[in-house]
């Protein structure tokens, strides 16, 4: 059981994805050729099911080759509350680092996207549920500040169970910190686009994810602020299938568009060029 503020999502989460030869898609059961998923950005070529995409591949998907420069990697988590838990928080952190090869849940970089300088950040659900603690907030801020300083657009990919419980109110305050960071971008008239992946929930959904100029959702992702189980307890009825899904969020006016991952880069380039013009933006 997860120990961060997590949310039980309605969608069944398949493990990272079939790798070996002869494996089948966990969603449609179609036979997958070796390497087939990797070639299609981990989207099933048969049913378009979107498997989780690791942070580095996410950045590689958008950035022009050879333009990526990571930042904020030196910012590392501490245990500010000396949190009492069955497993100490520092141990959870080092386990997550070993499991994922990441230093924290948020990977930040500057790059060029179709020749256009941009900041890009990815919040990875694989690292402690993509939970937002002080490091996520600080890396987000440094990335946003880099975008302001260099007059670049900011693109952030979210996937998260919410706030990181082990850092208590420090985590809650990262909602404020990231929104204030976005406000600095807004004041500088720089584009800010978010891409919401499965799942985007809690304090992450209710902060930097939803104050973007343009909000894109990946197909089949689930987004909610409260957990579906708590909502069902409140309204004393079962939630309909598809509750909180990208498609439902689109229908309720909460996101701008639902875009297949394989078309995401082109769409992003289109959005940035319409918002910024050809680099000669005012």
């Amino acid at each position: 059981m997860a120990k961060y503020v997590t949310i039980q999502v309605a969608r069944k989460e398949p493990p990272p994805g079939p790798e070996a030869a002869g494996e089948r898609c966990k969603n449609c059961n179609a036979l997958l050729q070796p390497g087939e998923l990797d070639k299609s950005l981990r989207v099933c070529p048969h049913c378009s099911y979107h498997y989780p995409l690791p942070s580095h591949e996410r950045i590689a998907q958008f950035a022009d080759a050879g333009t990526v420069s990571f930042l904020g990697e030196e910012v590392r988590a501490v245990d500010p509350l000396d949190f009492v838990d069955l497993r100490p928080y520092p141990q959870r952190l080092s386990d997550a680092q070993l499991d994922t090869g990441l230093t924290e849940a948020f990977l930040a970089a500057t790059c060029e996207i179709a020749g256009r300088p941009a900041g890009i950040g990815v919040l990875d659900f694989k690292f402690l549920g993509g939970s937002m603690g002080s490091v996520v907030g600080e890396r987000f801020y440094r990335l946003a500040q880099a975008a302001v300083d260099r007059r670049m657009a900011l693109v952030v990919v979210a996937g998260s169970g919410g706030a990181r419980m082990q850092e208590g109110l420090f985590s809650l305050m990262q909602m404020a910190k990231t929104v204030v960071s976005v406000q600095k971008l807004a004041n500088a008239h720089l584009p800010y686009v978010t891409i919401l992946t499965h799942p985007t929930t809690g304090g992450v959904f209710a902060s930097f994810s939803t104050v973007a100029d343009v909000i894109i959702a990946e197909p089949g992702a689930v987004m909610s602020f409260a957990g579906p189980r708590i909502i069902e307890q409140t309204i004393r009825e079962k939630l309909p299938p598809g509750f909180g899904s990208s498609e439902s969020q689109l229908a309720h006016g909460q996101v701008d568009m639902v875009v297949d991952r394989r078309q995401l880069r082109d769409r992003l380039v289109g959005i940035l060029s319409l918002l910024q013009g050809d680099g000669a933006h005012v």
Partner: protein, 275 residues
């Protein structure tokens, strides 16, 4: 950091913060804001009774006052959704905050909520976006802002109304990223572990002041705020007035810069020397 509170000590605060007779926004209004003029509605969808908002005076100053209201009786609690705002509640707060900005009025918020309302309609009506935009709105207001957590500060639903130049907590109020019961259920698989979780999360006003996450703790009358509403209201008023005295003289741009700086500094992390 002083010694950790015991689970029993931490839980005593939680129970006091939730005490049925503890003064709520409307109690403070009844005692201390006789000229309060309530304004209603978000102008888009509805009027959320979990959020009370209006115009009033504090000393010589006109202010906008916004607070969550849990209710005391079962009937009132139901009417007010136990103080859990829906998107229209946050939008009403934002509307009033902007009204204050338009007329140069300080904005004071009183926070006492278990959290945002966890309902299907609230979710589909954009609960997450409403909270995010409320945080954004209060972050950008050009007029002085003061928040007092008067009871429960429940997670993002509280933060949406609690971003301010000065954030105070009453001595026995609590403020937390997750309810102690939910935390207990996650860590020890038992909601009855709330007391242990409350201590682990450091939800008390004194803990949060020591951690640098709030600006001051306002003492309560002996036994707690519920024992003497008038005395509590007088202390609350005095602290808000003093805070506003210090804030009104700042240039709006400077006040905004300081507010942003305060929130951009929030966090506890290390900076590795290599890599």
């Amino acid at each position: 950091m002083s010694d950790r509170q015991t689970p029993e000590q931490a839980w005593e605060r939680v129970l006091l913060a939730r005490h049925a007779e503890r003064p709520q926004t409307l109690d403070y209004i009844a005692v201390a804001f006789p000229d309060f003029l309530e304004l209603s509605g978000d102008r888009l969808h509805g009027d959320d009774k979990a959020v009370v908002a209006g115009l009033t005076t504090l000393g010589r100053r006109r202010i906008v006052l916004i607070g969550t209201q849990k209710g005391h009786t079962l009937k009132e609690r139901q009417e007010r959704s136990f103080g859990m705002p829906r998107p229209e509640g946050y939008r009403k707060a934002m509307r009033l905050a902007r009204l204050g900005e338009k007329f140069g009025l300080p904005v004071v918020t009183l926070v006492d909520t278990p959290g945002a309302y966890p309902g299907k309609d609230a979710e589909e009506g954009g609960q997450a976006g409403a909270i995010a935009r409320s945080i954004e709105t209060f972050a950008g207001l050009t007029t002085p802002t003061v928040t007092v957590v008067i009871g429960e500060g429940g997670s993002g639903g509280a933060l949406a109304l609690a971003l301010a130049d000065r954030v105070f907590m009453l001595e026995n109020s609590t403020y937390s990223v997750i309810s102690p019961e939910a935390c207990g259920a996650l860590v020890w698989r038992d909601a009855a572990e709330g007391p242990r979780a409350a201590a682990a999360l450091r939800v008390s006003a004194s803990d949060l002041f020591e951690l640098g996450l709030i600006d001051a703790v306002i003492p309560e009358p002996p036994g707690g705020a519920h024992t003497d509403h008038r005395q509590m209201a007088n202390r609350l008023l005095r602290e808000i007035e003093l805070a506003l005295d210090g804030l009104v003289d700042l240039e709006p741009a400077e006040r905004l810069r300081l507010r942003h700086e305060k929130y951009l500094k929030m966090g506890s992390y290390a900076t590795a020397s290599s890599k």
